[in-house]
Amino acid sequence: MSTYVALLDGGRREEAVEVRRVAPGAYEVRLRGKVHVVDAFRHDYGTLSLIVDGKSHSAMLDWRDARVNVRLRHAIVPLELLDERKLRMRRAAGKFTVAGPQAIVAPMPGRIAKVLVRAGEEVREGQALVVFEAMKMENELRSPKDGKVVEVLAREGETVEAQTKLCTIA
């Protein structure tokens, strides 16, 4: 039996999930006080076919470390899944939710079309910080939280690689 903790809404909500294997491909999963009978068949390309209490679901899981986007037929559920050990480490490191300084990075190679904030400026969650041009379209990179701009590294007109840090919000 293993227990996992799922973080939802970027860490604002937390759910515990217990998994017990009862036979090859057959599991009991305890969640929100309910126990679900689960038949799971994994396709070699990453889709998981689930029969949960008789209902059939296809789940596509895109893992990035502990983060996973679960795509169902009509919805995408982004979450983070940790085992107890990882959870403890997280809590220790304190970077558990959006608390603490957040770095804004270039999501892909592209061009800095415009920098909309200055260091020291107060920003609101969702406020545009940088106009980033990629694949022929301009995209606004927004603040993940209310806070203050503590550094601005992006320079207008410059071309950057993916993951380049553009600014930091504290």
Binding site: Y4, R21, H36, T47, A59, V70, L72, V77, N139
Partner: protein, 510 residues
């Protein structure tokens, strides 16, 4: 069918989805095809699909697909006798059409003069006014600078649209609702316009109240016979980019269709048009319509019209280029309802941020009444250099309700791993009450922005949690298994192999 000009080999001056689309028809017609490709596209589907392929330069479009000299040289070297431009890239550059014809090859498209007459928006508006086609109030020519723009905007009143004079496809196009936003939007439009067309001239026009984007597909042969194939409604747009297109339009009845068709044909005749073209109109709440622009090429959303009429518009383009006549207007029979949704490699939850990268697995929808036009495949790396559209998914059915249900069903089947796509967003849009009711306009995406990013309901969330937890459990268990296997086995590799074999023999991977 009269064919004054022989066309045996066509160079398709484009890439991705539309290049494949054109080559499919060429193959059905027994015409050889030549693909061009940039560094980033050696592995692209259109390269494999063609009978011949020739490299035209580095990945950035301006050094390859937009380079008239290189593309023309490719056509010469491969002895193509015709060039099909697709859409975008050089398709609306009269200079390219001229160069192709000077080189003694057939340009599968309109005469360069027609492209001139429609190419620059301000010229087009003047020509249309002269032809008695109703047009939206706006600046007569490009506007000198931001100050002049502000003055003009104040004069005609907000909201206004800022548009690239050389533009198309939403690039360099901005809606400005308030005077205080003008400065930022004006500059952004200039940057986009310069980047996309190497031309930063902008003009301003009145933004209409709840306008719907309705366009008429026209077709003309070289003798000037001109017909229309009815309308497509393309009001579901985000950032001025069409996302969902359908026909018939919910607000167009036979009378309005006839009226708009007649005007569209007149517009085409006014510039002695030849081949496939689309006259775009804005239709307001009172169902009066204004000329917006004419796209002098095949439209992305042409499959919608093909589904209704049963015609292959690329085949018709080639027939016309060979000198054949268009069908008579009364031969055109429209049947049922069709809707197209554009599948983009982008993340609606992050402001539609493009999501290039490797498609690790792809299974596209199929079954009755579904058509997929795609330029990608499982294993392909979507390059960051070009448009992020990976597929056009369209559905036909006898009625609009059935067509919507069919397209939703099909989108639910769409399986792509490795990149983020806008599939859930498209489903939400198609299921939105306003769309279902046919009561929507070009403000649809902005107005319902939040509703179109549905939060998963509790049941979906539970399934997702179960899926993630079970997957993690399997992973952890297998890591343990593998570790144990490695511990006992040598050489190292074989343990993995045996483990894999064992699974394969169980006919499963549990």
């Amino acid at each position: 069918m009269s064919t004054k000009r022989a066309i045996r080999k066509i160079l398709v001056a484009n890439r991705g989805e539309i290049a494949v689309r054109v080559m499919r028809t060429c193959r059905e017609m027994g015409i050889a095809t030549v693909a061009i490709y940039s560094d980033a596209d050696r592995g692209s589907l259109h390269v494999r699909y063609a009978d011949e392929a020739i490299h035209v330069g580095p990945s950035p479009a301006r050094d390859s697909y937009l380079d008239v000299g290189r593309v023309l040289d490719a056509a010469r070297r491969t002895r193509a006798d015709a060039v099909h431009p697709g859409y975008g890239f050089l398709s609306e550059k009269a200079e390219f059409a001229r160069a192709v014809e000077r080189a003694g090859m057939v340009f599968v498209g309109p005469r360069p003069e027609s492209m001139d007459a429609m190419g620059v928006k301000t010229t087009a508006r003047a020509n249309m006014r002269a032809a008695g086609v109703p047009i939206v109030p706006g600046s007569e020519g490009p506007i000198a600078d931001e100050t002049a723009a502000r003055a003009f905007a104040d004069a005609i009143g907000y909201p206004v649209m800022i548009k690239a004079a050389a533009g198309g496809g939403g690039k360099g196009m901005k809606r400005c609702d308030r005077a205080e936003d003008l400065s930022a939007l004006w500059q952004s439009a200039r940057r986009e316009s310069a980047g996309a067309f190497g031309d930063d001239r902008l003009y301003v026009e009145k933004f209409l109240d709840r306008p719907r984007h309705v366009e008429i597909q026209v077709f003309a042969d070289e003798r000037g016979e001109t017909i229309h194939l009815g309308e497509r409604e393309c009001s579901v747009q985000r950032r001025q980019q069409k996302v969902i297109e359908e026909s018939p339009s919910a607000i167009v009845d036979d009378a309005l269709r006839a009226a708009m068709g007649e005007v569209a044909v007149r517009a085409a005749r006014a510039v002695s048009y030849r081949g496939a073209g689309t006259v775009e109109f804005l239709v307001d709440a009172s169902r009066s319509f204004w000329f917006l622009e004419m796209n002098t090429r095949l439209q992305v959303e042409h499959p919608v019209t093909e589904a209704l009429t049963g015609l292959d518009l690329v085949r018709l383009q080639i027939d016309v280029a060979r000198g054949a006549p268009v069908p008579r207007q009364e031969e055109i029979v429209r049947r049922g309802h069709a809707i197209e949704a554009r599948v983009y490699a982008e993340d609606p939850a992050r402001g539609f941020l493009p999501s290039p990268g490797k498609i690790t697995y792809l299974r596209v929808p199929a079954g009755p009444g579904v058509r997929d036009d795609s330029g990608v495949y499982g294993g392909w790396i979507v390059p960051q250099h070009y448009d992020p559209m990976i597929s056009k998914l369209s559905a036909w059915a006898p009625t609009r309700d059935q067509a919507i249900a069919r397209l939703v069903r099909a989108l639910g089947e769409y399986t792509v791993h490795g990149i983020t796509a806008n599939i859930a967003w498209l489903i939400a849009a198609l299921q939105h009450p306003a769309f279902r009711a046919g009561d929507y306009d070009t403000g649809f995406c902005a107005r319902y922005e939040r509703e179109l990013l549905p939060r998963p309901d509790p049941e979906q969330e539970e399934i997702a949690l179960v899926a993630a937890a079970v997957a993690a459990f399997k992973r952890d268990r297998e890591e343990a298994e593998a570790f144990a296997a490695r511990a006992v086995a040598s050489p190292r590799a074989s343990a993995w192999v045996r483990l894999g074999r064992a699974r394969a023999l169980r006919g499963e991977d549990r």
